[in-house]
């Protein structure tokens, strides 16, 4: 069992459970129902949600996409679109944000509420300076400066005059937070405030939020789809499913001993640094129900392995269920919550060996990919000033063995996608060499499967395009085979991308890549846009396909846990460089590069031995001389400032590292 409670900040009362003392609560949501209408269909987004937020408490709201987390948040802010049909109440400090007049709600927002949203770039007006935007919340310039200082924005005077695009993602999110706390609100709605951020920045922001909570005593509803993140910051967690609360309890209890089969499934399909690499991930089968076509009974029943006849007949109510080990009581909406402990979970069979009959090879002795000292720069035009070069790749060398899977990790902007694009020839390197094995050219599975498919063409057309030289009938067979391989129904060939669910879309994208299996499959964060359960499915699918078809895989991700799971080896990138590469488990358990080490430390739910790294990835335009990580490194030595370390093999291991002062185990 992981311990979620590793924060140094004390919780304001261990006794806080699912029910707060009435006088202490800052917000009470009661039987909230929200229905949208689209295309003459009713979409019940919330179906009777009740919860309370106590003073000074952080309530985590967890669930898959579409489960109603944001709608709950927006209802509390009183910002649901006018077209929404709302019943029930959402009272914040005495104002019912459902029924009150527009003016009253606005007043409540101004005085009692703050909000932080997912994407700090789009959440700030691009045409206004930070100063002007903050002044909409703060009373004076001094107050604005003070606010910026309190959220840890360095050099606030200068930042006041900056425009949002001139700030890094982390700083922008800090500005958002400053605006949210400007009025000293009693409740902050934070809707996935760290989802768009890199792990290290995410860790910093989480730190800041809990620090602010202790400092200001503000309550917070923290929306996230990552159970681990919620467990790390929240006091209590509510798990939502299809517009209802499936389970609500203390963070520790929900994270370590969930009672609802859905919470359990979520937890199990979550990839962590300890997940068993030898076998497929446990997954939740199926996908969340469509809102316009909800089952009458328990919405989770169709996906639930424990479902009974009764589950399908009646909506289960939230009821207290005691947890066996933590002795905590949670409210769970499952009629079989107590029995579930007794049921054993079958472990999946371990992966088979990688196929030896290698796919897509012209010459069986070819290596699928060899990159040697590849450089790639982009010129970015700065208006009215001289052009500047952005060094996206700064001398990358990488070899993939046949059938091997390498995971490429790194924070945003480190050059991962560029590396992939150079590898398949979509971009030409400025310098260095790229060699690809003969035969079927490599294919990429993109991050956003929807965007990678031409919206107005059918899946069938897109698949058949891969084999355009074949006869019509053959093309069809190829396409159908591919669909079967990824576990999709053949009828999907007639659908257009937007008619598919997210999971189906990602499968179709994978099917497109393997209509003719290439020797090398490149995956650019194929799971980062997917929900936990779908991501697990996709990881399993890629894992099994590459083994069955004998493909080599270069798997790009910013999630170390996924990297460890997929990659035989892990390569860590920083500012256009591979700074460390080695066998997956070794890199994770025994990182050599300080950057790798800090990445691991930043992982949510990690047992943190040291604080996450300060600062953010510097701009690839002005790469500092010497080691590019130097400024953030706590092991920097004098030669780091002048000598740029190169990737050197560590003797007697399969590992290489680019560091003057590597972490010694």
């Amino acid at each position: 069992m992981l311990s979620a409670n590793t924060r140094s900040a004390a919780r304001p009362g261990e006794a806080l459970l699912n029910r707060a003392e009435p006088q202490q609560s800052v917000a009470i949501v009661d039987s909230l129902e929200v229905t949208f209408h689209r295309n003459r269909q009713r979409l019940p987004a919330l179906r009777g949600v009740s919860l309370e937020v106590n003073a000074g408490e952080i309530l985590g709201l967890v669930g898959e996409s579409g489960s109603g987390k944001s709608v709950t948040g927006m209802a509390l802010l009183g910002l649901l679109p006018r077209t929404a049909e709302v019943r029930g109440s959402a009272v914040v400090q005495g104002t019912d944000m459902v029924a009150a007049t527009e003016n009253a709600r606005r007043e409540a927002r101004r005085q009692h509420l703050g909000a932080i949203f997912q994407d700090p770039m789009t959440s700030l007006d691009p045409t206004m300076t930070i100063g002007r935007q903050i002044s909409e919340a703060a009373t004076s310039k001094d107050a604005a400066l003070e606010l910026l200082r309190s959220v840890g924005v360095p050099d606030p005077e200068r930042r006041l005059k900056a425009y949002p695009h001139q700030l890094s993602g982390g700083l922008r999110q800090r500005v958002m937070i400053a605006m949210a706390i400007a009025s000293q609100p009693s409740l902050i709605i934070a809707d996935e405030p760290t989802t768009a951020l890199d792990v290290s920045v995410q860790a910093q922001i989480l730190e800041l939020l809990s620090e602010l909570r202790t400092r200001l005593g503000t309550s917070m509803i923290f929306v996230t789809h990552d159970l681990a993140v919620a467990a790390q910051i929240a006091d209590r967690i509510a798990v939502m499913y299809a517009g209802r609360i499936a389970e609500i309890g203390t963070a520790e209890q929900v994270f370590s001993e969930p009672r609802h089969p859905y919470s359990q499934g979520l937890l199990r399909s979550r990839v962590s640094l300890r997940t068993d690499r030898e076998r497929p991930l446990a997954t939740l089968s199926g996908e969340p129900p469509l809102l316009h076509d909800l089952p009458t009974g328990c919405p989770f029943a169709p996906r639930c392995e424990h479902a009974l006849q009764a589950c399908e007949e009646e909506l289960p109510r939230l009821r207290p269920v005691a947890a066996s080990t933590t002795k905590a009581t949670s409210l769970t909406a499952c009629i079989r919550a107590e029995e579930l402990d007794q049921i054993d979970h079958e472990e999946a069979a371990s992966w088979g060996p990688v196929a030896t009959e290698l796919a897509g090879y012209g010459n069986p002795r070819d290596l699928p990919l060899v990159m040697d000292n590849v450089h790639k720069s982009f010129t970015v035009e700065k208006r009215f000033r001289h052009r500047r070069t952005l060094k996206a790749l700064r001398g990358v060398s990488l070899r993939l063995e046949r059938g091997e899977s390498v995971a490429l990790v790194g924070e945003s902007g480190s050059g991962k996608s560029t590396l992939l694009r150079v590898a398949v020839g979509l971009t030409h390197p400025d310098d260095g060499e790229v060699r690809i094995g003969e035969g079927e050219p490599p294919q990429i599975v993109f991050q956003d499967a929807g965007a990678s498919m031409t919206p107005w063409l059918t899946i069938g057309t897109l698949l058949e395009e891969r084999v355009s030289s074949a006869s019509r009938a053959d093309r069809r067979t190829f396409a159908e085979q591919a669909l079967e391989l990824v576990g999709l129904d053949v009828s999907i060939a007639k659908a257009k991308p937007r008619e598919l669910s997210g999971g189906q879309r990602q499968r179709a994208a994978i099917a497109r890549a393997i209509v003719k299996p290439p020797a090398l499959l490149l995956c650019d964060e194929p799971t980062s846009a997917l929900d936990v359960s779908l991501a697990a499915n996709a990881l399993n699918l890629i894992g099994s396909l590459r083994r069955r078809l004998g493909m080599s895989v270069l798997f790009v991700t910013h999630d170390l846990a996924a990297a460890r799971l997929v990659g035989d080896r892990i390569a860590v990138m920083y500012l256009g460089r591979i700074v460390e590469i080695g066998p997956a488990d070794e890199v994770i358990s025994d990182p050599l590069h300080p950057y790798t080490k800090s990445l691991i430390a930043s992982m949510p739910g990690a047992q943190r031995r040291e604080a996450p790294t300060d600062g953010e990835v510097p701009s690839a335009i002005d790469v500092p001389a010497g080691c590019s990580f130097r400024a953030r490194c706590n092991r920097a030595v004098s030669c780091c400032a002048t000598d740029d370390p190169t990737l050197v093999a560590v003797s007697a291991t399969q590992r290489s590292v680019a560091c003057h002062n590597p972490v010694s185990s």
Binding site: A115, T127, E136
Partner: protein, 306 residues
Amino acid sequence: MVRFIAGRLASVIGVLLVLSFVMLLLQRYTPADPVRAKLGANANPELVAQERARLGYDDPLPLQYVRYVSDLASGDLQESLRTRRPVAEDIGDFLPATAELGAVALLFALFLGTILGIASSARSRGSGVLRVVLVAGSSVPVFLLVLLSLLLFYRQLGWLPATGRTGLRDAPDGPTRFLLIDSLIAGRPDAFFDAAHHLVLPSICLAIGPAVAIGRVLRGGILDTLELDYTRTARSLGMSERSVVLRHSLRNAIGPTLSIAGLQVGLMFAGIVVVESIVAWPGIGLYTVQSIPRLDFPAIAGVTLI
């Protein structure tokens, strides 16, 4: 910056070169005799031949072109066949009136369009009526619109003057040749109000079409931005819907709107020509209209190049 300007300049010069060539071709292959039109029916053939030679109409085309372009380079647009004055000078005389009318019309268009855009995106009261009035107004041929407005506001109500830029004989003819500005410079409020009074009808008639286009783009832009995250941020800070629209949506929707407005300036010209000839506005449109039947090519070419 220098590069940018140089590039723009190069493209403008390219445009002028191509355009002047096209103009010359048109002029050359027109089945018409502008010299005869200029000299009149009774002019004897020698005189016509002489005049043709003087104007260089008999020279080979490339030579004419080179001459035209070199004249152009020195700011010379040849002489109008009709007014017998240098076209550049004519344009200098006529352009300010048009520019003033166009500028005021554009301001009206922006103003009306902005109101329309904001009102119809915020669905505020009266926006429907405004929209119907403007869309209806913009769907009537502009010549009829002007005449009907004249019938109403000039003949029936007597509120607005019918023709010209000013009713004053001693209107200031100051440095900018924009009556509104000149009368302010000259400290003549009476002249200012008189000029404004004369501007109202033609400029509003001109503005309606562009206003609807602007309003439509602006509405789209505002509706788009209202869906955006930063307007949600503003609302979450307790801003009223109106200040959200005014402070955030409008700012961000205004960019594409202005570029539409820019395009409208080009489209407005046909309207300007029509309106000027109806309300006798002494501008470039009137000048053009008069040049057409006489095939005064230097004049038409000059206007086109401007």
